[in-house]
């Protein structure tokens, strides 16, 4: 590779070259995600029917050209609902994971830098939060929020962040423990920089690879977590076209029309496959391994 080339035109060439060299899994994942992103962004404009429009066809009609995913009990077109739900699932997943990443990274990096009893105490609390199975933690947090907030998208985002932040903090702390031994951190400290600024300017840039992979990995699981909550009746409320919730709504009638469950189900799975492929490719590009220890 010619390294001497610079300028805006070559940046595109370099990006193209990096893309061509990237693992197939990364490209396949990125392509799938792109499709999901486009559908999420534009779907509400071209979906054949409205998201709660009833009487679009015979209730529980199976697969057909006009209703690829069939029609539910209320006569709503499932395909249109899945398309309308795309941006909800994506926005909730990404913003919840991002909030968890920010909170987790700040706690983990600071804790690993400051050390001492603060670090020790934080570690114990995070460990305790991680010890509650994540779905159980999410469920009791939602129960604690009370019935007024149930079905509120903000609550779902906060719960995703609450579940992820301790897990991300643990990874960020481990990264920080490694970075603080380097000379540039010592130099920054001797310059008299505050812990916050050392974290932001020295630790964060050096931990960004680890955190990026961690973000992608968690984001890949977020649609499942949100879907699980919706499925159990603790997440989004009807008539929101959240895919997990749709699966649970149509599940009682799978004997009559399995496609009403398969449609949203396989859409959800394809999003998660895309995110997983993307994460594995990303990890390989960055030379890291994906830790799937805690699901």
């Amino acid at each position: 590779m010619v390294l001497a080339v610079t300028g805006p035109a070559s940046r595109w060439r370099r990006a193209l070259l990096a893309w061509r060299r990237s693992p197939v899994s990364f490209r396949a994942g990125a392509a799938l995600l792109l499709v999901h992103a486009i559908v999420a962004a534009t779907g509400p404009f071209w979906a054949p029917y409205g998201l709660s429009q009833m009487g679009t066809g015979a209730p529980l009609a199976g697969m057909s050209w006009s209703h690829p995913f069939g029609v539910d009990q209320l006569g709503r077109d499932i395909f249109s609902r899945v398309v309308h739900g795309g941006h909800i699932v994506l926005l909730l997943s990404l913003s919840g994971t991002f909030l968890g990443l920010v909170v987790g990274a700040v706690i983990g990096l600071l804790s690993g830098y400051v050390r001492g009893w603060i670090d020790e105490a934080l570690q114990r609390v995070l460990e305790a939060l991680i010890s509650i199975p994540f779905l159980v933690l999410a469920l009791i947090a939602i129960a604690a929020a009370g019935p007024e907030l149930s079905g509120n998208p903000l609550l779902v985002i906060l719960v995703v962040a609450l579940v992820y932040a301790p897990r991300i903090a643990r990874i960020a702390r481990a990264a920080a423990l490694d970075i603080v031994t380097r000379d540039f951190v010592t130099v920054a400290r001797l310059r008299g920089e505050s812990a916050w600024s050392v974290m932001r300017r020295e630790l964060l840039p050096n931990a960004s690879g680890v955190l990026l992979v961690e973000f992608a990995l968690r984001a890949g699981y977020a649609p499942v977590l949100i879907g699980s909550l919706g499925f159990l009746g603790f997440g989004m409320r009807p008539p929101t076209p959240e895919w997990g919730l749709m699966i649970s709504e149509n599940r009682a009638l799978i004997i009559v029309s399995p496609i009403t469950v398969l449609g949203p189900g396989l859409t959800l799975a394809s999003l998660v496959v895309g995110l997983n492929l993307f994460t594995e490719g990303l990890a390989r590009i960055l030379g890291r391994t994906v830790r799937r220890a805690d699901k």
Binding site: R124, I132, P133, V261
Partner: protein
């Protein structure tokens, strides 16, 4: 000595975590709107009746006192009484936990061959089409949420080939055969979710071990490929997989929440969801405590296993 010190340290740490979990659960549930008395009596209760019940349930004590009283009860195995049925929680939990242990044991039984066989096939046929095909299958399965997998299996074995029941209700009058039929789909769901992770890990470990000098040596000695694989490679590749299996046990405690609910199986997980829906505080506290204990216990086992199996610590 080093090993012993490590082990004791690890156990103590787990106990501290467990204590913190109990405190966290108490704090999270403390913020639940409305106290227990108003939830039992509903909105129409007169203030006098509410005050009497509060006094009865000792709700007027400070939170710290109530926490310590609850903790003392838990340590003696007394979780209090359920709000909805006012039965002792121990009595409610007993059969539910029994059912979940049965289900988990069944799931583990299916899990072992489900993890071993594909990994062995992949490792032996490395980079051949079958290896890639199985890798793709496990990656896709990795991405299928457990509630979707359960629903797909239901479509397959209840709707298309009607051999198994859609609803896995069992009680103490059920026969063994009814139990087996009821538990099959939930157990298969759990086993698949657990096996997917193990297959991916075991395949990589096996390939690594098959490349090692001692396996080459065994091959050069003229041992049959099967013997080399099963006697020499597999046991060594299994060690890291044991760790995954312990973590799978930890997954199981969250997994049963979904899977039992999907199949209406009367176990511990569905009890947790039901108690959350009914806002039955003492039952929620008890079930979450137990879930966290199992999780911590499973992780402790994984760590102890890792310490004991680490040859660098053995001489100490």
């Amino acid at each position: 000595m080093i090993v012993l010190r490590l082990l004791v340290g690890r156990v103590l740490l787990s106990l501290v975590t467990l204590l913190l979990v109990s405190l966290l659960i108490f704090l999270i549930l403390e913020v639940l709107p409305g106290d227990v008395a108003s939830r039992i009596l509903g909105r129409d209760a007169t203030p006098e009746v509410l005050a009497t019940l509060r006094a009865q349930l000792q709700l007027d004590d400070p939170a710290a006192v109530r926490y310590l009283r609850w903790l003392a009860g838990v340590l003696q195995g007394d979780f209090g009484k359920a709000l909805t049925s006012s039965r002792p929680i121990g009595q409610i939990l007993g059969p539910r936990i029994f059912n979940t242990i049965l289900l988990s044991a069944y799931a583990f039984l299916i899990y072992i061959p489900l993890a071993l066989v594909p990994a062995l096939i992949q490792a032996v046929n490395r980079d051949r089409p079958i290896d890639h095909a199985l890798s793709t299958v496990t990656l896709v399965l990795l991405s299928v949420p457990d509630f979707l997998l359960a629903t797909l299996l239901m479509i397959g074995f209840v709707v298309m080939i009607p051999v198994l029941p859609a609803i896995s209700l069992v009680d103490d009058t059920s026969t063994v055969w009814q139990y087996v039929r009821a538990m099959t789909l939930p157990a298969v769901t759990l086993a698949i979710v657990m096996a997917v992770y193990a297959v991916r890990m075991l395949r990589d470990n096996l390939i690594e071990v098959l490349d090692s000098e001692y396996v080459r040596m065994a091959e050069l000695k003229g041992l049959s490929p099967r013997l080399v694989l099963l006697r020499h490679a597999l046991p060594n590749a299994l060690v890291p997989t044991l760790n995954v299996t312990a973590l799978n046990l930890a997954y199981l405690i969250g997994g049963v929440v979904i899977v039992e609910k999907v199949f209406s199986y009367p176990g511990f997980g569905s009890l947790l969801v039901d108690s959350l829906q009914l806002r039955d505080l003492p039952v929620i506290e008890a079930t979450v405590m137990i879930a966290a204990s199992v999780y911590i216990g499973a992780n402790l086992l994984a760590d102890i296993g890792a310490i004991l199996l680490n040859p660098r610590l053995r001489s100490g």
